[in-house]
């Protein structure tokens, strides 16, 4: 079966857009083919800075013929209806129609045959539409045609379209169409500098090979492999180790069609600047890799660049040029760093009075004061030194105003640590400057130094409470202030450090520190707690744990100690994995179901202690006794915060519950006995509420 080759040749496509564009092209073309009844065998898309390419192989040469039946009017219907039917079906007369009988009467049925079209004609129809509606994140107009409405929008000017279709054994046909004055053909171009001439291509195989001859590696994965291998080798050959960087590799592979890896160096003296600053400079501004000394793990005064040409002088000029730029950049960075060191962190703080954090939440200075106060309150709860915590909160944001952070926002916090150490702050205070931003996500490291923990909690809780107070909560996919991440950070800080904290109290304290009038102060703590519950569920789900248990624990009410919630959920999860747990859950659910039905029937609840004198059967008595014992035991265990023991106690309920359901008929004929038995069932439910609301647990 024939194959399609499609190439869209343009001016340089932004690196960050290439991979998605290739995937979009593949998806759009193949979806459309399938929708047109052309089921293909395989497809693959490629991207380079100057082209998107797609090969689809094994496309049927023709669409299948389509036969459809169309139901017409009733036999004997008015002539207008009959004429309409004939027109719609293309039948000459009713003689060509079938008659079908159904309960409503006899109907004419027209058979319409739609012959399949040649695949190449279908392609010529669908491809221009795909090109015109291609989902670039940003697109533009260009050239003389942009003077008229309706001109093509593309990511950068589009110059040529190659579209061929045919069998391996034959000369393929050009899929003929035209977009914005560009007619399809089979001509593409090689590397911009090394092989710029036109190349005539027939199908994917010779296309890819001819491009390779013309110094274009079509497949970005191949370019990445080549860069990585060469870079590692080049570093290794000189006794260094490449500092790998996947994002940078992805980007660099999108900037070259013919990667040539070269190594340059810079003056040793720049290594006095923090390594992260050197790396950020070299990486962000120059898109080059850094290398380290494998013996010490420290950065070496070398960098690796990826050029797009095999230069006639072997790359000497390119290396020299890059070295000049990197030298200038590093000397700027060094200058910034040294300038920053001249000003104490606290001396930067007054400037925060001019900087608005959020229109409704005041300036950064006000925010820092709130965090200081809250951190000082949290400090004793997390065994942190109050004075050090206050100091850390006071200084933690100051590096935002330094030159280095202004230049490289990603080293915020880290620079704070360097500057704090340089001005002789305590190690914990310095660490907190960096660590109070952590954890940044589900896999980021959680700080353990109590001072860092206190400031990190205060920072995040102030943010959460603040945005809750002004009703700027995350909705759907929108979370511009990263509040979900902040809440998850709080959960992880508490759980990993085994901290005991009443979130309601801390939130109330944070709320009291706000100058803004909260939108709904009454509901805020409960609302925020529910948000934490949601985050906890997401976190557990991502870990593959049972997230429905979070609801079962939260449903108990009054739960605002995250650590206890997490522990309870863990214990519950383990318990439910045992046979005792599973059976007890089944028993409790059965009790709840029966109760639910009877409560509805009688329109009343069955609260209150059962009457022991009404027990007629041993199983009733045994259950009542077990409930009494288990409740006492479980409550004692809960009071000790020994949730595993509470669960073990619960397990003792299983035999009497099983026996009860086996032997006892709840709906006794004597209404008094029935009521008493329902009350006993209710007791099971309330006994188990010592650990969780089992009715919220999914089966």
């Amino acid at each position: 079966m024939p194959d399609l080759l499609l190439e869209l040749f343009s001016e340089e496509i932004p690196a960050r857009m290439q991979a998605k564009a290739a995937e979009d092209l593949r998806r759009m073309v193949t979806d459309k083919l399938v929708a047109e009844g052309l089921v293909y065998e395989g497809a693959k898309a490629f991207s380079t800075p100057r082209r998107l390419a797609l090969t689809v192989h094994g496309i049927p040469a023709r669409q299948p013929d389509l036969k459809t039946e169309r139901r017409g009017p009733k036999v004997g219907a008015p002539d207008a209806a009959v004429q309409g039917f004939l027109k719609a079906t293309g039948l000459k007369s009713l003689d060509e129609a079938k008659i079908q009988r159904d309960p409503k009467g006899d109907f004419y049925i027209g058979l319409i045959e739609k012959p399949g079209r040649d695949a190449i004609d279908v392609l010529a129809e669908i491809l221009p539409v795909i090109i015109r509606t291609f989902p670039w994140p940003k697109s533009m107009r260009w050239g003389a045609r942009s003077g008229k409405p309706g001109s093509l929008n593309w990511v950068r000017p589009l110059h040529a379209i190659t579209a061929t279709f045919g069998l391996e054994t034959e000369e393929p046909d050009i899929v003929k169409f035209e977009v914005d004055g560009i007619e399809t053909g089979q001509t593409t171009y090689g590397h911009r500098f090394m092989a710029p001439d036109a190349i005539s291509v027939r199908r994917f195989e010779d296309y890819e090979a001819k491009l390779l001859d013309a110094k274009v590696v079509l497949d970005s994965e191949r370019r990445k492999d080549a860069i990585l291998t060469d870079a590692k080798q080049l570093a290794f050959a000189q006794g260094f180790e490449l500092v790998e960087d996947q994002n940078l590799l992805d980007e660099v592979a999108g900037l070259v069609e013919w990667p040539v890896v070269l190594m340059g160096s810079f003056e040793q003296e720049f290594l006095a600047t923090p390594a992260e600053v050197i790396r950020a400079t070299i990486r962000n501004n120059q898109k080059c890799f850094v290398v380290s000394d494998p013996k010490t793990g420290k950065l070496a005064n070398k960098f690796i660049l990826v050029a797009n040409i095999e230069a006639t002088d072997g790359g000497k000029t390119i290396i020299a040029g890059n070295e000049r730029v990197i030298r200038a950049r590093l000397s700027d960075a060094k200058f910034f760093y040294e300038t920053d060191l001249k000003t104490k962190l606290e001396d930067r703080l007054p400037k925060f009075e001019q900087i608005v954090f959020h229109e409704k939440l005041g300036t950064q200075a006000e925010r820092i004061k709130r965090i200081e106060r809250l951190a000082a309150e949290i400090a004793p709860l997390v065994r942190a030194d109050v004075e050090k915590t206050k100091r850390a909160a006071h200084l933690a944001k100051a590096d935002l105003l330094t030159e280095v952070v202004g230049e490289f926002p990603e080293v915020q916090g880290l620079m704070g640590k360097y500057y704090a150490l340089a001005q002789g702050e305590h190690a914990s205070v310095a660490a907190a400057c960096e660590e109070h931003y952590k954890p940044q996500g589900p896999t980021d490291r959680v700080p353990t130094d109590p001072v860092s923990v206190a400031v990190a909690l205060a920072d995040k809780i102030d943010t959460l409470v603040g945005f809750w107070a002004i009703n700027e909560k995350p909705t759907g996919s929108k979370d511009p202030y990263a509040l979900r991440r902040a809440a998850l950070g709080v959960i992880r800080l508490i759980a990993d450090n085994a901290l005991r904290l009443s979130l309601t109290k801390v939130a109330a304290s944070a709320l009291a520190g706000l100058s803004v009038q909260p939108v709904d102060a009454q509901k805020l703590p409960g609302d925020l707690l529910a948000f934490f519950a949601d985050r906890l569920k997401v976190q557990l789900r991502e870990q593959g744990a049972r997230h429905d248990l979070v609801d079962a624990v939260f449903a108990l009410g009054g739960q605002d100690d995250l650590l206890m919630i997490v522990r309870r959920v863990e214990a519950l999860g383990k318990f439910l994995e045992t046979d005792d747990g599973k059976n007890l859950l089944a028993g409790i659910k059965r009790a709840s179901n029966i109760l639910g039905i009877e409560e509805k029937k009688d329109k009343r609840s069955f609260d209150g202690a059962p009457d022991a004198t009404l027990y007629g059967l041993d199983e009733e008595k045994a259950l009542a006794q077990a409930i009494g014992e288990v409740t006492a035991e479980a409550n004692a265990a809960i009071a000790r915060e020994d949730f595993a023991a509470a669960m073990t106690a619960m397990a003792k309920l299983r035999p009497p519950v099983d026996a009860f359901f086996e032997k006892v008929r709840v709906n006794d004929d004597d209404p008094k006995v029935r009521e008493n038995r329902l009350k006993l069932l209710n007791e099971i439910r309330s006994a188990t509420r010592a650990v969780a609301d089992f009715s919220k647990i999914q089966d």
Partner: protein, 311 residues
């Protein structure tokens, strides 16, 4: 590169030779070679030959040097490549020709940058000027890891869609010349290409000015006067725009250019105030917005002029 040039005129030896080579190259591509606009501005884009001529249907090809004044970038002549006054070389071609990238690469060859030994790259950079209400897509052009030019397809200027689209090239002249001359300090650039006593450096020409203007921009510039000038320029711009509508009907405009001068003026005065540090963060945004409003109104007036393409 033109081999017949005398040594002192060669772009790799002489800053002025470098500029002349670029002018000559673009003249050969059919551009009119203009002289710098006689007003202070932050970038060559502000020149009416770009901002206003990018609007409307009429073809327009021009190239010119424009001094850029960035009061905040002054470093008292102590930084090797940051200055409050430097040159930009600006090319605008409307509609953008299909081979604009190739022309650009040829222009690099004309100033001594050979693409067989240099690594030239087009790296994504979307251009936006909030003060001009303008944006476009294009690249930073890199030569061996150094940004040497800005390449933009204007999509919108002064709040109006460009139809047709103009292609704009901006060369940072000093930086490029430093690269081809192989000097690390801008003041060491050979300006006239001569040797010995006859040699004039960039420092000879501009170092004194850098020191003086840095002091002026950061320490002394009269802020009360500048605040007043901003208001006056803004007022004058609005006044001229209002008076320019022919017969008071918003169909044809007769005074877009004088009005636009006042917009340029306001923009530069704002930059000076900003350098003096007397504009707060929140005010800053509102000043930018005020200049943009002027730019938009000037753009609207321009497309109603005869040169702007009004029918």
């Amino acid at each position: 590169m033109d081999a017949s040039l005398p040594a002192h005129m060669r772009p790799e030896r002489s800053f002025q030779g470098f500029i002349l080579a670029l002018q000559r190259f673009w003249a050969e591509q059919g551009c009119v070679i203009l002289q710098p606009y006689d007003m202070e501005m932050g970038a060559g884009t502000f020149h009416p030959a770009t901002t206003l001529r990018a609007l409307g249907p009429k073809p327009w090809n021009a190239a010119y040097v424009q001094p850029s004044r960035r009061p905040k970038d002054g470093r008292y002549g102590e930084n090797p490549n940051r200055m409050q006054h430097y040159y930009q070389f600006q090319v605008i071609m409307k509609p953008s020709p299909p081979n604009l990238q190739e022309l650009y690469l040829k222009s690099l060859a004309a100033i001594g940058i050979d693409s067989a030994v240099h690594d030239i790259r087009f790296v994504e950079d979307d251009w936006e000027s909030p003060t001009l209400g303008a944006w476009g897509l294009g690249w930073e052009c890199w030569c061996d890891g150094m940004e040497v030019s800005q390449f933009t397809y204007f999509q919108q200027v002064a709040g109006f869609e460009c139809a047709p689209v103009a292609g704009e090239l901006t060369y940072g002249l000093e930086r490029l010349a430093m690269y081809v001359q192989g000097v690390d300090r801008v003041y060491d650039l050979n300006f006239n290409g001569r040797d010995g006593d006859a040699k004039v450096t960039y420092g000879d020409v501009f170092l004194q000015a850098e020191k003086e203007y840095s002091k002026h921009n950061f320490e002394v510039a009269d802020t009360a006067m500048l605040f007043e000038q901003f208001k006056m320029a803004e007022g004058a711009c609005r006044k001229y725009l209002e008076a320019g509508w022919k017969d008071g009907k918003r169909e044809a405009h007769l005074m877009a250019l004088p009005a636009y001068d006042q917009c340029i003026k306001a923009s530069h005065v704002f930059n000076l105030l900003d350098a003096r540090g007397v504009i707060s963060v929140t005010e800053r945004q509102s000043y930018i917005l005020r200049v943009r409003e002027l730019a938009k109104a000037c753009g609207e007036a321009w497309i109603h002029t005869e040169a702007g393409g009004a029918a």
